[in-house]
Amino acid sequence: MSNWTLYVPYAIAFWLFAIGCFGITQSRSLVHTILCLTVVQASTYTLLLSIDFHAKAAAPIYSSNYAPGRPAVDPILHALTLTDIVVGATVTALLLALTLQIHRRKGTIDPQRISEMRG
């Protein structure tokens, strides 16, 4: 490993993953659990975008000023990330709806007091 600073972005992605998982294990409220899950999700975006970054390249959107075919960062991972952010927001909504329903049924959203979620 010649220059360790070039691996910091990957370390940040793994750190986000680890700290999100930590939040899930410590969670006393399902809303908090869902927010921690979105932090874990953010780690995948960080990893995808830091893999595809290229130092001497522009964004993969050409124009008449930046001719098509000139160096640009990997557009495939950008496309993956952008669809995933939108779809992830909806999945979060689905989880929040489930939380609302659990609150109606059980009267609590503390995962440690819901017998089905005790582990």
Partner: protein, 251 residues
């Protein structure tokens, strides 16, 4: 398992997992030096063969359009799931006919009322602009749709719950969402009908840089915008409706 036990288990496994992941990262290209054969190829051919400037849009809606169809259906199913889960309790409470803003204690001054309402028009116009030029400039159906979702929420901020629920009519936007999902599939199937390949770009590509260009990319872009925008509107409406029902339950 107790909280303490869980913490100890977490710390042990996290240290191990972090070490394994960092070891794996040493096999990745160092930050800023990635280059793949597929990347170079896609960057070379996209504008030449599809007549669009925005390469991620071309990838989403054409080159890897089938993946996006799958993502679209995840979105569609999630919204349907939210509606299904939250409609299970609708029978228990009847909705209040009385509008929220007549409630005593909530007084909105002129600026507080009209600034968000004006923002609605501005945000909606910006969302449509983002979506309509998705093949030329940063933006596209997904981004525009997500922005549009917040436009109608401004009606709630400015005028109130009752006006919002009348603007963001759930039955209407539900049908728009289904229409968007259907249109994406229909474009794919009709391409298969004509050429034998699903989602093949069959329409004339137009001139590079024109507002309408890219063939089926443009159509799918608009279909995705309609679906995402209506999906987010339905979600906002359903959740705000829930807060109203919960307030009534507690009274």
């Amino acid at each position: 398992m107790t909280l303490r036990g869980r913490t100890i288990l977490y710390v042990c496994s996290a240290v191990l997992a972090f070490a394994v992941m960092m070891y794996g990262a040493t096999g990745l290209p160092p930050f800023g030096s990635f280059s793949g054969a597929y990347t170079d190829l896609v960057l070379q051919i996209t504008t030449a063969e599809r007549h669009v400037y925005n390469v991620p849009t071309a990838i989403n809606f054409d080159i890897r359009g089938f993946d996006t169809l799958g993502e679209e259906f995840i979105f569609f199913t999630s919204v349907a799931g939210v509606l299904f889960i939250l409609s299970a309790v609708r029978g228990k409470t009847q909705t209040h006919p009385e509008p929220m803003e007549s409630e005593p204690g909530i007084v909105r001054t002129g600026a507080l009322r009209w600034f968000p309402t004006g923002l609605t028009a501005f945000i909606a116009a910006m969302a449509m602009d983002l979506a309509a030029h998705g093949q030329l400039t940063p933006g596209g159906g997904f981004q525009g749709g997500a922005v549009f979702g917040s436009a109608l929420a401004c009606v709630f901020l400015g005028v109130g719950m009752h006006a919002f629920l009348q603007t963001a009519r759930k039955d209407l936007f539900d049908q728009f969402e289904a229409l968007g999902a259907f249109a994406f599939g229909a474009v794919g199937v009709s391409a298969m009908w004509v050429t034998g390949y699903f989602l093949k770009n069959v329409l004339p590509l137009g001139q590079t840089g024109a507002t309408v260009s890219g063939g089926t990319i443009y159509l799918i872009n608009i279909a995705v915008f309609i679906e995402i925008a209506s999906g987010f509107t339905v979600l906002t409406a359903v959740f705000l409706n829930q807060t109203r029902q919960t307030q009534e339950l507690e009274e």
